[in-house]
Symmetry: C2
Subunit: 428 residues, 2 copies
C-alpha cells in the first residue's frame, strides 16, 4: 500500500514519523506494509522536524496524487485551495483519501463527498474535528442505529484554554489570550479561533454526521469569545456556572429542522463538559437510546492529529485490500437548518438599572410582553444604581432579542451588561 | 436484510422496538430494509415489554440461526451456553453475528473469533463492554495507527453507583448496596458485580483489543469492593482521592508483556475518571500519539445497550451488502500476560501502630528492606496508639506484598488497616 502525503508541517511530519516507527505494527494491522510513496511540499530546501528521505520530497503535488503506484492520498495542507483540486484529482484517479481539512469539508463538502461517491472511493476525515478524539467514526458508525438529539462540543482548544484561565485565575480576555499565545496555544493572529470560525467549521461537519443531512459553515450561527469579560466569568462562577465556547448542533423539538451554532454559553459546573480544562476538547452527545455520551481528548497538536490520520490510513488500506469502501456521506434526511431566531434555549441577562421601586415590575413586564418567562431574578443595590440578574426559562432567540431591544429603550435600564445563553441543563 | 434475534429480555425487547420504530432511518443508513425474521425465547407464553409479533417467536433457536433466509444473528441471551453453540452454528451457516456477550468472549473468545475468521464472517460486539459507549470500534479502528499504553476503565455501573454513594453520603458498603438494589442498579445476588467478575470479563476484552493480543477472563487479576469501608472512603477523600473500581490494562515498561487487573483503587479527584458519578461508565485511554482520551456514557440498561447492538447491526448489514467484512480479531502481537506480582504501581497503606519513639523508623526500614520507596507519611496520635498513613512511590506488587507481610510480623504494628493501590497520577 503506497501512501502519498500532501503537506509536511506539524501534522505531516508526525504522520511520516509514525509510518516509519510503527511500520511493523501497521503492516500487521493492515495486512500489507504501508510505504511512503512521496511527500508534496511547497519548498524543498526547508528544514523539517521529521527524518523524511529527501528523495521522497516533491513540489509537484498534482503529479504525485495521480501517480499510478499511489493507493492512498493523505492531505494535511489545510485550506480550500490547492487542497480541493488535489483531492478531486486523486479521487478521479481512484485513490483513497484521508484528510484533516475541516475548512474544505465544511465549505464545500458537497463537491468532495459527491466526487468520492461518484468514483466509489473512500474519503475519511476523523482528524478534521477534535484531533485525536475518535468522534466521527463513532457518530457515523457506532450510532448508526440510534437517533441523535443534540451535540454539545468544546471543539476549539485555544478558546477553551483562554476561558479556563479566565475562570481559574480571574484574568481578563486579553491577558489570557497573551498567555495562550506565549505557550503556543494561540496563533499570532487568533481570529480563526477566538471569533469561532474554526469551531463553526467543525460544528458543520458534526451536524451533518449526527443528523444525516448537509450542513455548511455558512449555515452556522457564530459568535466568538472576545467580548467575554472577567466580570461575566466571575458572575457565572457565583451562580455555579462556567463559560465555555460551545459548538451546538440540535434537532428542533418537532424533529424537522436542525440548528447549528457556535457561541459562548454558561453550563452548570456539574455538567461533564464543565470539567474540560486547558486546551482539551470534548464532545457531549445526547441520543434517544444511548442517552448521554461524552468523548474527551486532545483536539490539536502534531502527534494527536497524526494518530487520527493514521487510524484512517489503516482503515482505508484495509478497505482497499478487501476491494470495498467504508460508509459514504449520508445526507438522506435532508433537513432544513433553521435560522438562529428559532433556536430555543435559556438566557442569563445582567442589567444595570436605577435603584427605585417598580423597576423589577417594569423589567418583568418587558419579558412578559415578548413571552419570555423568567425563572430566577437576583437584585443587588449599589447606591443609586442596582444590578438585576435574570435567568429565563426556555425561549426563542428571536423573542429574547426583542426583549433585549425593548429593555434598552427603557429609561430605568442604564445598561444591558451581559446576555448569555445557558446550556446543558435538564430543562434547557 | 433479515435479522434473527436470540433473547427477548431487557435488551432484546429494546432491539425489537428500535428495529420497528426506526425502520425508515435504518433502511436509509443500511441501504436496504432490516426485517425481523424471528425471535428465539425460552418460553412462548411470557408477557413481554415489546410489541413483538407473536408469530415471530420460537423456542427453536437452533433452527432459527441456520434458517436460509436469515442474514444476521443477534445474540442477547448472555452466558456461555447455549449462546456459544448457537453463535457457532450461525457462523458456520454464513450468518453475520452481533453479540453483547462479554462472558463468552472473555472466556472462550478463541473459539468464537476463530470460527468467524475461518468462515470469513463478521463478529461485532460493541455492546459487550460499557453498553452504549462507542468504545470497541474506536479502539479497534480509530486507534489502529497508534500504540496504546494503558486503559483505565470504570466498566461496572453497579459498583460505581455503590462507591459514589459511599463517597458522597459516607454510607457503608452494605447500606449503599442495599440502596443500589432498591433502585434496580444491583441484582439480588450482587456477586458478579461487587466481586469484579463482570468488570474482569470486560477488562479481558479491552486488553485484547488495545494490545492486539489474546487475553481471557482467567488472565485477569480480580479484587472486588466488598471490603471497602466508610473509613477507607473518607480517608481517601481527606487526601484528595476518590475510590473507584477500575479495570486496568497496561503494557509493561519494556512493552513485552501486559498486565490486566480489576481492583478498587484511589485516583486523584482531578482525574477525569473521578467525576464519573452514579451508574455511569467511562474508559480512559493513554496512547503514545493521541495522548489521553476518555469515553463516557451509560454502561448498561435496555435502550443504551440496544443502541450499541443496533449500530453493529447496521455495520454488519452494510458489510453484507458490500460483500465484505469488517476487521477481524487482531492478536498478532501475542504478548504474555504477566502475573500480578510484576505489576508496578503506587500504594496507600494505613497502619495502627504503638505510639512510641522509633516506630516510624522501624516501619520505614521494613519498606526499605523490600525496596519500596516511601513518598508521603502522615502520623496521627490517638492516645496509646497512632495511625500511620504511607503513600509509596512506584513498586512491584510482589515487593509491596512482602512489605505488608513483614509489617504484620512487627510487634509495634497492631494492624494493617488498609492497603490500596493509587492510580491515575503522572508519576504512577
Amino acid at each position: 500500500m503506497k501512501v502519498a502525503l500532501l503537506g509536511c508541517g506539524v501534522v505531516g511530519s508526525q504522520v511520516v514519523r509514525l509510518l516509519q516507527e510503527q511500520a511493523d505494527d501497521l503492516a500487521a494491522r493492515v495486512g500489507a506494509p504501508l510505504e511512503l510513496a512521496g511527500v508534496a511540499v511547497r519548498r524543498l530546501g526547508r528544514k523539517r522536524d521529521s527524518d523524511v528521505d529527501p528523495a521522497l520530497l516533491t513540489t509537484d503535488a498534482e503529479s504525485l496524487v495521480t501517480r499510478e503506484d499511489v493507493d492512498i492520498v493523505v492531505e494535511v495542507i489545510g485550506g480550500i485551495e490547492p487542497a480541493r483540486s488535489l483531492i478531486l484529482s486523486a479521487i478521479s484517479a481512484g485513490k483513497s483519501i484521508v484528510t484533516a481539512n475541516k475548512a474544505l469539508l465544511a465549505e464545500d463538502g458537497a463537491t468532495v463527498h459527491g466526487s468520492a461517491k461518484k468514483h466509489g472511493g473512500d474519503l475519511y476525515y476523523e482528524a478534521s474535528v477534535a484531533g485525536a478524539i475518535p468522534l466521527l467514526r463513532p457518530l457515523r458508525e457506532s450510532m448508526a442505529g440510534d437517533r441523535v438529539h443534540r451535540v454539545l462540543g468544546i471543539v476549539n482548544g485555544t478558546t477553551n484554554y483562554i476561558l479556563d484561565k479566565m475562570d481559574s485565575t480571574g484574568a481578563s480576555f486579553s491577558d489570557a489570550l497573551e498567555e495562550a499565545q506565549a505557550l503556543g496555544y494561540a496563533e499570532a493572529d487568533p481570529t480563526a479561533d477566538v471569533e469561532g470560525f474554526d469551531a463553526a467549521a467543525k460544528a458543520a461537519i458534526l451536524a451533518g454526521l449526527a443528523f444525516h443531512t448537509r450542513v455548511t459553515a455558512a449555515d452556522v450561527h457564530r459568535e466568538g469569545i472576545t467580548e467575554i469579560t472577567a466580570t461575566d466569568v466571575s458572575s457565572a462562577k457565583a451562580m455555579g456556572y462556567v463559560i465555555k465556547l460551545l459548538a451546538i448542533c440540535a434537532r428542533s423539538d418537532d424533529g424537522r429542522s436542525v440548528g447549528v451554532r457556535v457561541h459562548p454559553a454558561m453550563i452548570p459546573r456539574t455538567h461533564p463538559l464543565a470539567g474540560v480544562r486547558e486546551a482539551y476538547n470534548a464532545v457531549f452527545v445526547e441520543a434517544e437510546s444511548a442517552g448521554q455520551l461524552m468523548f474527551y481528548g486532545k483536539g490539536a497538536g502534531g502527534a494527536p492529529t497524526a494518530s487520527a490520520v493514521l487510524g484512517d490510513i489503516v482503515a482505508v488500506a484495509r478497505n482497499r485490500i478487501a476491494g470495498t469502501h467504508g460508509p459514504q456521506e449520508s445526507t438522506y434526511a435532508d433537513l432544513v437548518v433553521h435560522p438562529m431566531g428559532e433556536t430555543v434555549t435559556r438566557y442569563h441577562v445582567s442589567l444595570d438599572v436605577a435603584d427605585k421601586p417598580g423597576v423589577l415590575a417594569t423589567v418583568a413586564e418587558m419579558f412578559a410582553k415578548h413571552d419570555v418567562s423568567i425563572q430566577i431574578v437576583r437584585q443587588e443595590g449599589r447606591g443609586d444604581d442596582a444590578q438585576l440578574v435574570l435567568v429565563t426559562h426556555r425561549a426563542s432567540d428571536a423573542a429574547l432579542s426583542a426583549t433585549i431591544a425593548g429593555l434598552r429603550e427603557l429609561d430605568i435600564v442604564r445598561d444591558v451588561t451581559s446576555v448569555m445563553r445557558v446550556e446543558g441543563e435538564e430543562s434547557s
